[in-house]
């Protein structure tokens, strides 16, 4: 069993309305020492695979095709083999 941890973020060039709103709200509420807000999505997938490389390949494909919109987003991930006890 492998566990994939996936981060999907907006490309830096894309203006993210969600991040903007959070930033503005923080400033308004007095948390004006916060200078940079990034809002991303985080996914965890548990999967079986023949080996680490196979798991990584599959996860990359799932990210590319489904979890991220490559027009506006980038993704990165890690895949780790899970301890048997889990």
């Amino acid at each position: 069993m492998y566990k994939a941890k996936i981060f999907v973020n907006y490309k830096p060039s894309v203006l993210d309305p969600k991040a903007q709103v959070i930033q503005n709200t923080l400033t308004r509420l007095g948390d004006d020492n916060v200078s940079h807000v990034l809002v991303g999505k985080y996914f965890e997938l548990t999967l079986t695979a023949a080996c680490q490389a196979a798991a990584e390949k599959q996860v990359a494909r799932i990210c590319d095709e489904m979890l991220a919109n490559v027009n506006t987003e980038t993704f990165k991930f890690t895949v780790e083999e899970m301890a048997v006890a889990e």
Partner: protein
């Protein structure tokens, strides 16, 4: 004209489109499930509004994997007319039939209101019944209608005159006030406002009729009669 309206689980404007085309415009329209594998025999394919598969991941992101998508791509690549409205527009960008992406409205709120639009290009199969520069009012109803494309793509879109409708008072942060645009070939249109909700005087006025009448005209000319 024979129109197919693709009905995804979670689509909710499919019946409204059928009603507009069949009961108001007087042409043939049928619902086609997302499991369909062919779109042969249709002059026009409509991708309706709604929340396909709940739109939980990203609007349109899951619809992209529906079985009907292969047929839709084939239909579009062969030059067939495709109109995506609201969620349909989002889906068409997700599958790459249209450039760019639709992000959250800058207010982060869903917005439903009458929206004045300027017809930016009346030389398309979808807008020939309008005049360039004309202002029409259509309802919008979306949370993620904020059009984005990277600067190079945006420049291309403009150079090719792909923008068909622009917001007169940008409600959602769309770049270049884009409310609707076609692909380069001009046979695929995506738009956030709902023309099918504005085809009867009693309901919202008739400013949306032009889109369907333009398509009746275009399909009559047999541009794509062979499919």
């Amino acid at each position: 004209m024979k129109a197919a309206v693709i009905s995804f689980p979670g689509s909710n404007c499919d019946d409204d489109l059928v009603h507009a085309i069949r009961d108001v415009v007087g042409e043939c329209a049928v619902k086609v499930p997302a499991t369909a594998t062919t779109l042969a025999g249709f002059d026009l394919v409509l991708v309706p509004g709604g929340f396909s598969y709940g739109d939980y991941l990203r609007s349109g992101a899951i619809a992209k994997f529906a079985p009907v998508m292969a047929a839709l791509k084939q239909f579009a690549q062969a030059g067939g007319y495709v109109l995506g409205i609201c969620n349909g527009f989002q889906i068409l960008t997700e599958v790459g039939l249209l450039p760019g992406a639709l992000q959250w409205n800058t207010s982060l709120q869903f917005i439903c209101e009458p929206e004045p639009l300027v017809v930016a290009n009346a030389d398309t199969a979808f807008s020939s019944r309008y005049e360039a520069g004309q202002t029409i009012t259509l309802p919008i109803a979306h949370g993620e209608g904020n059009y984005y494309a990277d600067p190079a793509t945006l420049a291309e879109i403009e150079a090719n005159h792909q923008v068909v409708f622009r917001y007169a008072h940008n409600p959602n942060g769309s770049l270049n006030d884009i409310a609707g645009l076609t692909n380069v070939a001009g046979n695929v249109l995506g738009m956030m406002p709902h023309p099918e909700r504005a085809v009867e005087q009693l309901i919202f006025g008739t400013d949306g009729l032009g889109v369907f009448e333009s398509l009746v005209e275009a399909t009559k000319e047999g541009v794509y009669a062979e499919n």
